[in-house]
Symmetry: D2
Subunit: 348 residues, 4 copies
Amino acid sequence: MTITAAVSGASGYAGGEVLRLLANHPEIEIGAITAHSSAGSRLGELQPHLLSLADRTITETNPENLAGHDVVFLALPHGASAAVAAQLPEDTLVIDAGADHRLEDPEAWFRFYSSEHAGTWPYGLPELMLDGGHRQREKLLGARRIAVPGCYPTSALLALVPGFAAGLLEPRDVVIVSASGTSGAGKSAKPHLLGSEVMGSMSPYGVGGGHRHTPEIEQGLSNAAGESVTISFTPTLAPMSRGILTTATARVKPGVDKAALRAAWSDAYGDEEFIHVLPEGQWPATQMVLGSNNAAIQLAFDEHAGRVIVSSVIDNLTKGTAGGAVQSMNIALGLPEGAGLAQLGVAP
Amino acid sequence: MTITAAVSGASGYAGGEVLRLLANHPEIEIGAITAHSSAGSRLGELQPHLLSLADRTITETNPENLAGHDVVFLALPHGASAAVAAQLPEDTLVIDAGADHRLEDPEAWFRFYSSEHAGTWPYGLPELMLDGGHRQREKLLGARRIAVPGCYPTSALLALVPGFAAGLLEPRDVVIVSASGTSGAGKSAKPHLLGSEVMGSMSPYGVGGGHRHTPEIEQGLSNAAGESVTISFTPTLAPMSRGILTTATARVKPGVDKAALRAAWSDAYGDEEFIHVLPEGQWPATQMVLGSNNAAIQLAFDEHAGRVIVSSVIDNLTKGTAGGAVQSMNIALGLPEGAGLAQLGVAP
Amino acid sequence: MTITAAVSGASGYAGGEVLRLLANHPEIEIGAITAHSSAGSRLGELQPHLLSLADRTITETNPENLAGHDVVFLALPHGASAAVAAQLPEDTLVIDAGADHRLEDPEAWFRFYSSEHAGTWPYGLPELMLDGGHRQREKLLGARRIAVPGCYPTSALLALVPGFAAGLLEPRDVVIVSASGTSGAGKSAKPHLLGSEVMGSMSPYGVGGGHRHTPEIEQGLSNAAGESVTISFTPTLAPMSRGILTTATARVKPGVDKAALRAAWSDAYGDEEFIHVLPEGQWPATQMVLGSNNAAIQLAFDEHAGRVIVSSVIDNLTKGTAGGAVQSMNIALGLPEGAGLAQLGVAP
Amino acid sequence: MTITAAVSGASGYAGGEVLRLLANHPEIEIGAITAHSSAGSRLGELQPHLLSLADRTITETNPENLAGHDVVFLALPHGASAAVAAQLPEDTLVIDAGADHRLEDPEAWFRFYSSEHAGTWPYGLPELMLDGGHRQREKLLGARRIAVPGCYPTSALLALVPGFAAGLLEPRDVVIVSASGTSGAGKSAKPHLLGSEVMGSMSPYGVGGGHRHTPEIEQGLSNAAGESVTISFTPTLAPMSRGILTTATARVKPGVDKAALRAAWSDAYGDEEFIHVLPEGQWPATQMVLGSNNAAIQLAFDEHAGRVIVSSVIDNLTKGTAGGAVQSMNIALGLPEGAGLAQLGVAP
């Protein structure tokens, strides 16, 4: 039996990537393709790379157009998902690529998003380690509402959770610096995102704890650590379209050595299809994972500074958004977890 | 029954891309992965993006290691293929991604490659138009030796052949200017290919008719035209890893109008899975086809200059090399022509 | 005695580059800095790289603010210059970086710009060859109105004029393909100019004779040739912020050989400070001229195709806009022609 | 009286940038241009952007060729400077752009460079704050041996020294993550520095405390703090030719507030010509300083994490190498400190 999926927010980068992955998915048939201001357009005008879907017409994002599908992907601006989801049947699998249902703490939501909290949905990061050897994927089995993690949190949590889950890291003075491709900033035309401005240039933004992904990262690390973890998170914009390189560093607890650190990360991801801890001496590069659902991770113990430094790379639009969404969908529907997802990046 | 494929030249960009595509191919099992100076290495050291194949060992490129496979891909330096192929069984499908067996004219070979001509194999560009409505794919059915076209010839022939095949274009003053990503120049470390040199910079090379793809393009255009076609071809290096944008322009014959031109191109590619003539007004961009086997094409008639201008884009490593190779393999083996090949580019 | 200069359109890329050059100019004091919608802002908000001018306030572009300066630079949208210039004293040197006063033929203006022609001012390309061994710089001596050439015409005319002026080239089937950095498309935020769209991608635009620089290039070539020259011009957008690489090719007249071609170009530019014909075998790259007022040129004779191919590179914002403007100003005011202009590009 | 300068290591990126700046310097005449393996070549072959110097011949780097100049710049591989300097007269100003004479601690030198320490020369970072309101520039007055700081140390020290000098920061858990353009890795052709590998990709290297600039940064911070400072430093390679963005973060001491932090940085650089603390709310981008001798800095106080985050940008080849060298030369010779140095970056 064919599974049908609707994609809303189809004119943006997240929506486009969901469509790219679904078009390659062996079990999914793409149904409604919806958006707001571009409703009525040919998809090919807005997503010229989706050549085999170019003649599909974008319809309006509303419950009528989204209803009747087995799965609905919401790639909408923050704050818009809850209202749409409320009008969809409870047995429809609704996957929110936006931020609305990620945070557990309504106060943190209000502080960073200045609106009412829409509630918390199961978090779509299957590899996340939970207490007692459990993984987040168990919570996604059969789920009908899923909140896809933010792209920075995906890269930061994959980088640091093994150390916190194993009790090896101090919960203070955790520092995370990430470099993201510009697609993470979306497709709306702003002067500082022009090619002329970003090519050949690196710049920080949201410095000082103000970026909205900060509480989401702290939530995930605190859950893994079993205590409150505080981070300093600085995102930067890199001259590339896709990819996130996260440099995450934390103080190790007394007595922790290099072997214990390597073991924690190897054990965490040894059985994971998409998370690759590289052989010692090899460092990740964002190019390695372009267009794939992979994360590549390496770590080093700096004895002098008493800190572990973890580097992780993902494609922000794939594993960081649409790939995580499709992987979570696969789990929720009982499909093979990797269906429709590339295991090899497009490089060079 | 599983089909096995060996890939030689696996440390280079072409070999890496063949491996990436074969790993996604539903009918192929990757056998020997061979190279020369890097024999003995883990594949992951040389092709870090091929994460699921990282632990495979590269073996020496020799007949013993290549024998016993149904298909052998040769991604070797020019001049090296013939000797290897001669030692492989006649019923092994040998696909040469190098130049050795592309040219029909031994003299042209000698003039551009300064070595003895190795003979001509069926040309692996299935969409190429031949006399009487035939296509090149017919010559690939059941073939056991295939010469993959060069990347520039793929983009230039797809751009101009419809006009020559339809008798609409003059055979003189054909001008082709192509911009290629740097992966087309290979993986050997040369100072002018350093990132510091190529980023933010455009430069020409092989100007004045000296580029080795010139006779290959003329051969294909002349075959289509039924008369000798002369071109001026200038390749340029663009600050991107992948992709070719070809701007091809030719004088139209007296009386030819815009409708005739559009009809020729639409008719040529209307049934082709991978070749997309865009709707009027939309122009191709190399990003549209990144990592896919697609070509996207648009044309305009400049009445003032009496010329047609055709823009075509491909991914030089996919449709321009490894994708063309796999597509040709599929045809030769009677598999679905698009098996293992992406129909959607990775964008943005 | 200090010379004062006002710069209008100071919020855009052309205006910013004029300011960058004037700040380095030993004889000029920057007076009013004006714009339209950003009047009232600190310059540092709009041109963050102009650090030493950051605290200057942008004022409204109007005759009151521009009056009282020795020189006024107009870096305004097409069609806006004439009205402003008409309100400035006749003895003020007005330098228009826009297109309004470049074309000699009112009909060509109307066809490409759909408005009334504003008249023709002396063309600010000092190195342009005229009849009888004269140069365009002679027409700029003491001028009080100057039209700065377009960036593509600067690169195309510098590339081809020597051959036409020497009577070596045929006036038909001239083909020009240029690759430009994105700053040539200006600073207004359009989706197709986002970094995510342009990085890693080449694309054509204005194909088929529709680009507004076409009649300007034909005008310059025809003047040099003494007969009407017809071109096919295709601009493309390259993934870099600055720079133009022009590939220009024309059929040579019967009997013309390589020596005659090289002599024509060497003679044309041997005494020019900013135009460098490279030694044989060395090809230009846009990086060579970044931020400088230089053009670098190389040519090859393709005997097989009977054509000369000329490659030229400039920085579109410097020699192609603001540098040409300042160089022309220097000539008009009797200053050293190279004052304030870099002779060395910023590379790598 | 003209001052003559010789430049050794003229074939590399640092040497090329020294030449670019000296050619623009009003008081300096460029004498010998020397290198090792490329001795005998035209400079234009190796540094094609230095068009006005293209016909100069590169001579061998040896004492005979370097002697007789007022200033000698050494842009040599690490370990090569001491031997050359020892053969130059004591009253020649020798400026070492390499690492040999930067470190004060011979043991740190040995640990990171595995060779004998060559001694310590005055450190060429004029803006560095010393005890009692003094600056490093005082130590450069009349100096005849100067060690130019490393590019990462320049950006990191400019970022953090004001806080340490003012006693506001804790000496542990200082974390510095820097993104550098590829020119920082030099011009020797290594596969991982190919354009195909670096474009569209971010990657870390030297992770875990192993990068040679680590002890140099700790030395500068410790001197400013008056106590031993320990850092975690992670360099990353960004897809751009030039520029360093440093994100530096440290825990603030109890009771320190935002006003105290801003005052420390404003006071530190308020009188500095090349160091710009941006207005609150504006963040630096490497493009702002391209080709200039500027640094741009911004800071934020993250109360939640109890840390200050400082962003600094420089051009690694200009302020980070050759600009710092020329600025130091100016001071040593009693010339205006900014002679020959651009105060405005080339943007966009």
